[in-house]
């Protein structure tokens, strides 16, 4: 069924938000359309000559956009680049932020990193519980139909593959007789 809509009413509909406390309190006719949100101070024209914090010491490898000559005064150290994904990330940072080489390489690195993560878990003696990580407990509780559907589809595909493989093998045997 299609929902119909009426044109703008001249007077607000009863119960509309026009009755809320604070209605119109922040209306600003000068904010139309490009009243600057920026509190312009001219600081833009001083460029990079502003007071800076002390420099955080670099304790881990930090990749740096080639669109800036220096590190920022503080930075995060969450996960330094490592492994094959790390090599790709270093390569990505040779390109500017305007190029696909930068971002698509990083996405590729992310995908490889996910596999490295599994290998890393195994190395540390943890078998990742991928179902739990994907929140299947919640899915089972709130979306059971969908879980059953997906499991059924998975089972059907597996069955089809197995059947195909068995028949293929059987066929080959017959031929070789």
């Amino acid at each position: 069924m299609k929902t119909e809509i009426t044109p703008t009413p001249i007077h607000p509909a009863p119960g509309a938000g026009t009755d809320l406390p604070g209605w119109g309190i922040d209306a600003d006719p000068t904010n139309n359309p490009t009243h600057p949100m920026k509190h312009y101070t001219g600081a833009d024209h001083d460029r990079l000559n502003y007071p800076r914090a002390l420099q955080q010491t670099r304790t881990v490898e930090v990749l740096q956009s080639n669109e800036r000559p220096t590190l920022t005064r503080v930075f995060g150290t969450a996960v330094p680049p490592s492994g094959v994904s790390g090599m790709l990330r270093r390569y990505a940072f040779r390109f500017s932020e305007g190029s696909a080489g930068h971002w698509l390489t990083l996405i590729l690195a992310d995908r490889i990193n996910a596999m490295e993560g599994i290998a890393d878990d195994l190395r540390h003696g943890t078998v990742p519980n991928i179902f739990a990580e994907r929140g299947w407990n919640a899915a089972w509780k709130h979306d059971r139909k969908n879980v059953i559907k997906r499991v059924a589809i998975g089972a059907a595909i597996t069955a089809a593959v197995v059947t195909f493989a068995v028949m293929h093998k059987a066929g080959k045997k017959k031929l070789s007789i």
Partner: protein, 387 residues
């Protein structure tokens, strides 16, 4: 300590063996988290759409907490202060911060110049660990963290770190005038808050568009706006034109971002094959449904490469596009006032309170929009006792 640990697309877990964060700069603080939300932005990370999201990261950019330790230059905070922490990491002195653009700080993210530092938001946003953890390192602790006013509910406080300022700024950037018709795309927490805030600027009519019925119903109640399901209105642009005497809305707000549904072509190229930086369906509709000379305000997040949008219509219709990451610190004084005066009641958006240990399930529920979920907060162990 206990913290969320990202393992790859759609895979996160609660990990008890994460290292306790350290002070790395004299303007740092360490905060013990008392509330931490999951945001629609986290879903872009969770779905593997944000470049340089490294395995082993901790997400979370919306949190409150108690100051545990301060760096030697911090004089504005002391151990034991209960603070809300804006999601932007900002130095306060660069030319951008000086002009109120705290979301665009030049001294918080070495890895990209196109986005400022954000807690727990990939290495593209600075490589900081986030607040879905027991403890978190807070850089520039003399700029962002704000002591929670006496009498303010913690659940309200945590929503002041992102949802309220982002929704408010979406409306503010719309340049809404008294009497305007405002269309908000997306009835997630951000869109609902934007719709609610549109009234503060004097909107005459507020319409919200989504395709999830329970969210539309929630928006109707909470934001006192009209709400329509784009699956049952035919062509949404035509529908909105008709609703506005074939004139177009005065203001359109994109509160959906790069995971928009509603167009097979956009979904295939943007979400399935990454030929563009996410699907731009809502933005496309916003540009086409706004009046000539109208304003399109974008807070929905898109990736850094490129998107398919009708830019020719932007030119020919003389549309102004305004967009940014919310500048939380700039807006806080006004928004604290709105919350304390009861003009905004953000905590009503919270539908789920989940122990941090169950973070995998919490992500799944929010991502798949199950169990009537609007907004989820994660609660670290010991936090309830502290609060």
């Amino acid at each position: 300590m206990l913290a969320m640990n990202y393992r790859g697309p759609f895979r996160v877990r609660a990990d008890r063996n994460r290292p306790y964060p350290e002070i790395m700069h004299p303007r740092d603080a360490i905060v013990r988290v008392t509330r931490s939300c999951i945001c629609g932005s986290d879903l872009h990370l969770y779905h593997g759409l944000v470049p340089d999201t490294r395995v082993g990261s901790t997400f979370g950019h919306e949190f409150t907490g108690i100051v545990e330790e301060v760096g030697e230059e911090i004089t504005t905070l002391k151990v034991g202060d209960h603070v809300l922490v804006p999601f932007n990491i900002a130095c306060g002195t660069c030319s951008f911060c000086q002009q109120g653009l705290y979301g665009n700080c030049h001294e918080s993210n070495p890895e990209a110049t196109a986005v400022g530092g954000i807690f727990g938001y990939s290495h593209t946003a600075g490589g900081y660990d986030g607040g879905q953890a027991e403890y978190v390192r807070v850089p520039y602790a003399d700029v962002g963290p704000t002591i929670i006013p006496a009498g303010m509910d913690l659940d309200d406080a945590v929503l002041l770190t992102d949802v309220v300022p982002t929704g408010y700024q979406a409306a503010e950037m719309g340049g809404i005038q008294k009497g305007d018709t405002v269309v908000v795309f997306g009835a997630g927490p951000i869109g609902i808050m934007a719709a609610r805030c549109a009234w503060l600027f004097g909107a005459q009519r507020v319409i919200i568009i989504d395709h999830i019925e329970y969210r539309l119903e929630f928006a109707r109640q909470y934001a006192k706006c009209e709400a329509y399901n784009f699956r049952s209105i035919g062509d949404p642009v035509f529908f909105l034109k008709k609703a506005t005497d074939y004139y177009g809305a005065d203001v359109c707000i994109d509160a959906v971002g790069c995971e928009a549904a509603g167009s097979a072509m956009q979904t295939f190229t943007g979400r399935k094959t990454l030929l563009q930086a996410g699907s731009a369906t809502a933005l496309h509709w916003a540009i086409n449904a706004v009046k000539k000379g109208g304003i399109v305000s974008i807070v929905g997040v898109y990736g850094p490469t490129w998107n398919l949008v009708p830019i020719g219509n932007v030119v020919n219709k003389g549309i102004t596009i305004r967009a940014n990451q919310a500048s939380v610190k700039r807006l806080l004084p006004k928004l604290v006032d709105h919350v304390m005066a009861g003009r905004l009641n953000p905590k009503e958006l919270i539908t789920h309170r989940v122990p941090l240990e169950e973070v995998s399930d919490a992500y799944h529920i929010f991502s798949q929009k199950l169990d009537n979920c609007i907004k989820t907060i994660l609660i670290p162990p010991r936090a309830e006792a502290a609060a």
